[in-house]
Symmetry: C2
Subunit: 122 residues, 2 copies
């Protein structure tokens, strides 16, 4: 039986940006928390839709044809195959729902600075 997780506490347990941490897994999916500041590289995920829920800060999800700004409590699905990047001027925290083993840099493969190891729990 899994234990409950306090999302705020989970965010309090790490500091680094662009390194999602798994807080739950179910049905082949993962729930992750991530901190960001700055701009992530443009990328897409061939086989995975992603759900982002802004928790603190201001999450700017950029697409090639539009920008969606998410305040705390606002969420968005990024459909598979759609190029996007996550950006934030200020320190920003958000929750992700997506399949297990999604590489955060998607089609770009491994980039030293941005690619995060998968399956790392808080």
């Amino acid at each position: 039986m899994s234990e409950k997780v306090n999302i705020n506490n989970a965010f309090g347990q790490f500091q680094e940006n662009w390194r999602p941490k798994v807080v739950a897994h179910l049905n082949g999916q993962e729930v992750k928390v991530v901190k960001i500041q700055g701009e992530f590289p443009w990328h897409f995920h061939e086989d995975a839709d992603e759900f982002f829920l802004c928790w603190t800060g201001l999450l700017r999800v950029e697409f090639r044809d539009k920008i969606v700004e998410l305040k705390p409590g606002e969420c968005l699905v990024i459909p598979r195959g759609v190029e996007h990047r996550s950006c934030a001027e200020e320190p920003t925290e958000f929750v992700i729902f997506e399949p297990m083993n999604v590489l955060n840099t998607g089609n770009l493969g491994k980039i030293d600075t941005f690619t995060a190891p998968n399956g790392v729990s808080v």
Copy 2:
């Protein structure tokens, strides 16, 4: 391309208890919001794990051998096959992440009072 959803606004768009509303779908899963007050029947889901994230109020998830209380910002996975029921003394709102087409009353099948129609958006 999906549009962003404000979770608080989604909760503001309906009043009834025990009727989950879909706010997003991805990878064969759904993100739902639900209001509850009182006690749901004991049930389990044979083929679906469920993720509950308390949004407002106090969500008491009862299992046969323990009770887990979730405050806002606290979350829990209910593994498939495990009997449970959701309860709340006060009006309570929570977010659900689970596979599409999960019957909320699980193994009990359709019960007039509690079984909600699937796939209903906010």
